[in-house]
């Protein structure tokens, strides 16, 4: 978020576009929405409510923080946990997945909010981010819910394993300290 650059389209679109080109946020978002989609329509519905809501609330809190929160290991942990969950596809209660989505939203909302505050951006940019989160979550989870043939659901689980693999590599980078 420290690299938020004006798109010339206003702060709302700055935020919206920033999320769309931020792989750190996108990969975790992809994993949690894939998981929600795999767990069924009810889980997907709960996720698209709780995830953006938590992101927005935590973002507002982050906007009032005096320091920028940057904890890369937390993002990496989310890639690992969510990626493995998608890959093994356990039977999870919809509320459990929605809680995970809420937690993910809280963490990233806090990151985004505190970083926005550091560069003087306000709630409008945060709203742009959250609306993009909602749109992406809606599209991905609805798409995965609509998948019924075995191989398509397997492809989703393979994608989850790749997210976990990225998390492992990033952990190595983090320890090496040159990423």
């Amino acid at each position: 978020m420290a690299h938020l650059v004006t798109s010339g389209l206003g702060p709302f679109y700055d935020g919206a576009l920033h999320l769309a080109i931020s792989p750190d946020d996108l990969l975790g978002l992809l994993a949690i929405t894939l998981l929600a989609g795999l767990c069924g329509a009810r889980t997907g519905r709960l996720t698209i409510i709780f995830l953006p809501l938590a992101w927005f609330v935590a973002g507002l809190a982050g906007l009032n923080l005096p320091v920028t929160i940057d904890l890369p290991w937390l993002s990496i942990l989310s890639f690992l946990v969510l990626g493995v969950l998608v890959a093994i596809n356990p039977k999870l209660h919809p509320k459990a997945v929605a809680s995970l989505a809420g937690l993910f939203g809280l963490i990233h909302g806090l990151f985004n909010g505190s970083a926005l505050a550091a560069i003087g951006a306000g709630p409008l940019a945060l709203t742009g981010i959250v609306v993009t989160v909602l749109v992406i979550a809606l599209i991905i989870s609805a798409f995965v819910v609509s998948l019924h043939t075995a191989w398509t659901r397997i492809a989703v689980r393979v994608a989850g394993s790749w997210v976990a693999a990225v998390g492992m590599l990033m952990f190595g980078w983090l320890v090496r300290g040159t990423g």
Binding site: I21, P23, V166, L169, R176
Partner: protein, 198 residues
Amino acid sequence: MKRFNPMSYFLFALMLLWPLAAWAHVESGQAGGFLSGLSHPISGLDHVLAMIAVGLWGAQLGFPAVWLLPVAFPMMMAFGGMLGLMGIPVPGIEVGIAVSGIVLGALILIEKKMPLFAALLIVAFFAIFHGHAHGTELEAGQNAMLYSLGFVLCTGTLHGLGIVMGLVHRWQFGRLALRGAGSIVMAGGLFFLWGALT
């Protein structure tokens, strides 16, 4: 005359706006990190042979190995890469990589059927050597996130290529062709083992 869907006009208008937004967010080094990660797994023929072989063997073994092996390999390869990045040594890396070609090639050649768990163990074991080699060779200063993403995507795509090639297994001539491909992988492994030992 074919009429255009109104949505296509909207998408065209959206595309006209795209350059402005894209330039506003230009960040140097990002594409380099992704492309660098994408190209790293195909930088050595020994790696490419092994990764395609995993897909071929998975296709030969059938469901569920056809998708579990290509899940196990990138995950354990990433684990090996993590060890390499963290500076944790693994002995006999080059020999392990070459032997992976020999073993996987031989298994395809003899069309070896085995319990899924054993197949997973073999693939996971060799994946660590491949991952570790990549992990220790990574250049500093790359964007870790995009590099890792490109790296994993390329590895998975190579497995996918192997699986697609392995689909010929359903035909008699395809089975023979697959076994022939196994012999090529095995020969490649022997060649690389010779290079590693001399």
